[in-house]
Symmetry: C2
Subunit: 149 residues, 2 copies
Amino acid sequence: MKSDNKLSSILHVILHLAEHQQAITSETLALYLKTNPVVIRRMMAGLRQAGLVISVKGHGGGWTMAKPLTAISLHDVYQALGAPRLFAQGYRQDAPQCLIEQAVNASLDSAFAEAERLLLQKFIGLSLADIAADFKLRRQQHQATTTQE
Amino acid sequence: MKSDNKLSSILHVILHLAEHQQAITSETLALYLKTNPVVIRRMMAGLRQAGLVISVKGHGGGWTMAKPLTAISLHDVYQALGAPRLFAQGYRQDAPQCLIEQAVNASLDSAFAEAERLLLQKFIGLSLADIAADFKLRRQQHQATTTQE
DNA sequence: GACTCATGTAATAAATTAAGTTACATGAAA
DNA sequence: TTTCATGTAACTTAATTTATTACATGAGTC
């Protein structure tokens, strides 16, 4: 399966957005991801509807954050994206009457459901500010290593 | 994303195999999954290499279990399949130098890695005999409900 | 008001991957 | 030697993500 990178992508975009004060255009954001502006708009559409970001058309327009990073969890972003599929493994259902198939899928489903609960709890507990803090730490360390020479 | 159903499929096949005493051909197994015999052989190849099943060519040949279900965990099957990807979400890496991208991916990776550990622990703790037991329970219940009339 | 900049979105193409199919080689039993 | 069955490579099909193109809409500037 070709993997879905929307979650990683949109987080990257949002954190860049939060680093700036004024609006950023889709075109500029696309440069960060090395992709097309339309891809940015498409992903941001859900976040706008969820009230996480604001878009403005015309001159001087672009994207800005609607809330501080501390008020946005990874879970908020995930939901705003439309809660994309988390797991790559699916259940085969070509013989729904087959009790073996039912038992197999029930077992798998129980395992995956618990992993999903854990994952979503992690998402809820992680704010974008936490990720931004990690970024700032990395930036400090980076500056420290590149300055000393 | 098109989901990978190999784990679900192969478990279905194995449990049918375990229900029988004599060898079953790929063609017959394919009927259970409503698929092609080659698909069965392809998936079973890994299980054979892992020593979970035995294949015999020629007349009266086919597939048989190499071990009792109690001796096979879901994790064994998962590994024998080649440990296929569990998660559908990937990390975008178009700007490896970008510290924001690094921080985002590190955060996601930490969450997904923990979910993966949990999932694999579940896999280790679940034997195929457990799933077979669930199947037998379902069969009993099924017979009970279809007999009473 | 005309022009430019920017988003909004539909439609399409390209790339990737899982599953299905065909073809043929190999080996074992009748 | 014929038949049955696996082993495997090659190719096709279908689903899905991402990228691209095209054009409509709206907001600010001249």
